[in-house]
């Protein structure tokens, strides 16, 4: 990964009338990096992408891509970018093959036919049909192919795996990793923590239009929420586990369920005096992690 900044925003703000879309967003994405942009629906992910691409003009602040101001040098910037919108709309009466040709000609691509065929094969798509004949998932595949076929320096993907089956989701993530291996940059917006964990180097976490945290993915994984069920030999008192990052969820006699957002050392230390008969780690769904991260009391983004 190089230190060259591919995307940089300075106090980037977008207001819709008096409603805030994003506020004072300061973000930096390095060359060769896969940067994940995490946030729930309505947090401002898509608004940020649109402002970066100058589809929406910032109310305040600025965005620069490849060191060029996005408003002044929009055409030069977009020649080096491909973009997959989150709400992908396609021309219903157009054949997918024509659509890909059309976008390719607008992107001023040198067509790499073999790569295009390879992409179509990998996502298992027959481009000979009209858009209206495709399912939602297949339309998304067309968008994915369009985003990757140009081999651009920067690929911006807004919720790229929505509506795709798990196999194709995996293919998309593989494509992202291949782009990374080639030293190109990917900016991927998602609320799917798992896919972000799989491919991203760093993540930016956005909430209510504000960037609340930028974190390396490893750190984020370490901060993940876990549930731990301990069967004690003797029932511990209710205040026995007043430790930061540990929350008692339920208790049935000697069986206590904890939610832990830190290393287990401290909990084990406190639990040992009561005798541990059995210990089970309960898997926490991504939704639960997500909800925990965005709960109002954790607005600061700590203790995931």
């Amino acid at each position: 990964m190089s230190s060259e900044v591919i995307i940089g925003t300075r106090d980037l703000s977008v207001y819709y009338g008096e409603h805030r879309g994003i506020k004072d967003l300061n973000l930096s994405v390095q060359k060769g990096e896969v940067f994940g942009f995490l946030g729930p629906n309505g947090a401002g992910k898509t608004t940020t992408l649109r402002a970066i691409l100058d589809i929406i003009h910032p109310t305040k602040g600025s965005a620069a891509l490849f060191g060029l101001d996005s408003r002044k040098h929009g055409v030069a910037i977009r020649e080096r970018i491909s973009y997959l919108p989150g709400e992908l709309s396609l021309y219903p009466s157009m054949k997918a093959s024509y659509f890909l040709d059309f976008l390719g000609s607008l992107q001023k691509n040198k067509r790499d036919e073999s790569y295009l065929e390879q992409l179509l094969e990998r996502v298992d798509l027959d481009p000979s049909r009209k858009m209206r004949e495709y399912s939602h998932g297949n339309k998304q595949k067309i968008g994915v192919v369009a985003a990757f076929m140009g081999k651009r320096e920067l690929i911006i993907l807004d919720e790229p795996t929505i509506g795709l089956d798990p196999l194709v989701q995996r293919t998309v993530l593989e494509l992202v990793l291949e782009v990374k291996e080639e030293g190109r940059t990917v900016f991927i917006s998602s609320h799917n923590l798992k896919e972000v964990q799989t491919v991203c180097d760093r993540v930016g976490i956005i909430q209510n239009g504000e960037l609340i945290k930028t974190e390396k993915v490893d750190t984020l994984i370490n901060q993940q929420l876990r549930r731990l069920e301990i069967n004690f030999r003797k029932e511990p008192p209710h205040d026995a586990f007043a430790i930061e990052g540990v929350k008692e969820i339920s208790r049935e006699g000697n069986l206590v369920l904890f939610e832990v957002s830190q290393d287990l050392d401290r909990l084990m230390e406190k639990a040992a005096p009561y005798g541990i008969i059995d210990l089970e780690t309960k898997s926490v769904s991504l939704d639960e992690i997500f909800l925990a991260f965005y709960s109002p009391q954790k607005r600061g983004g700590h203790n995931v």
Binding site: E18, G21, T59, R78, P85, E87, Q107
Partner: protein, 274 residues
């Protein structure tokens, strides 16, 4: 830009053929059903206000042709212009496909220009097909009936409505760049179109309302029988071309400032409130 232009034209090939041959059919029906023996009866009706209101003159065959063919073919084509001009920007923004185009390495002016030129070419093509077709129909009936309108005269008279259609297209594009969505743009343009048509005719009937005719686009399009002998007036063509140019420039300015996908009113610009 050329790719976008070609795509815009290609995607309307069916419309070119459909509207072109449809307008031939319309003109042919009215040209062919004109029976000379009924002409005397029409003369009794020529002063009826209702005919004046909708711009029909029945004093002569030339008047009939000017009223029925020269008025209603452009009116029908204007409906296409309203549909096409409001769907190409506002409609694509509503459906989401404009976001893809705007994210391409094209400047906003290139996108708007490609769409405006494409629509102009499409309407020109429809007019050429319709005008040639109607001229042929007229040539066919001339064999049996003595009339003073030549097929070439009908062709040029029909083609003289092109600036009118271009003006409607540019106004439609402009409305698509300032109004929140396609539905509002199409409604506004339809209201203007109806007001423009009836306003011009009413202004011709009521002396005190005469000044309003200058706000009607139809005021600059000659639909009297003189069109066959004198042709379109240069001042009218220039006026319509000027209106089209002004609205094209306004559309360029508004489109370059528009927040695509947001769909707000022009005065709903973002304001920092906290």
């Amino acid at each position: 830009m050329f790719s976008l232009l070609m795509h815009e034209i290609k995607s309307r090939c069916t419309a070119i053929l459909g509207w072109g041959f449809g307008l031939i059919l319309y003109g042919a029906v009215y040209i062919l059903i004109f029976p000379p023996e009924l002409f005397e009866q029409f003369k009794f009706l020529k002063d009826l206000s209702v005919y004046a209101l909708v711009g029909i003159q029945l004093g002569s065959f030339e008047g009939y042709m000017a009223s029925i063919v020269l008025v209603y073919i452009p009116i029908l084509l204007s409906i296409y212009c309203i549909i096409a001009s409001t769907s190409t920007l506002a409609g694509e923004e509503d459906s989401g496909t404009l976001e893809l185009i705007v994210a391409m390495p094209l400047s906003r002016w290139q996108i708007l220009t490609a769409k405006a030129v494409a629509l102009s070419v499409v309407v020109l093509s429809i007019m050429i097909i319709a005008s040639i077709g109607n001229a042929f129909v007229l040539e066919a009936i001339k064999i049996n009936t003595q009339i003073n309108v030549t097929p070439f005269g009908l062709f040029t008279a029909l083609m003289s409505s092109l600036p009118l259609e271009l003006a409607f297209i540019m106004i439609g594009l402009f409305l698509g760049t300032i109004l929140p969505n396609r539905r509002l743009s199409a409604t506004a343009l339809t209201i203007f179109f109806i007001a423009s048509f009836f306003g011009e005719n009413i202004a011709g009937m009521v002396k005190s309302l005469e000044p309003i005719k200058y706000f009607s686009l139809f005021n600059y399009y000659n639909t009297t029988e003189t069109i066959f002998t004198e042709g379109a007036q240069v001042s009218d063509v220039l006026a319509l071309a000027g209106i089209a140019a002004v609205f094209f420039i306004l559309a360029l300015i508004c489109f370059s400032r528009r927040n695509i996908t947001v769909g707000g009113w022009p005065w709903q610009q973002g304001k920092i409130t906290d």
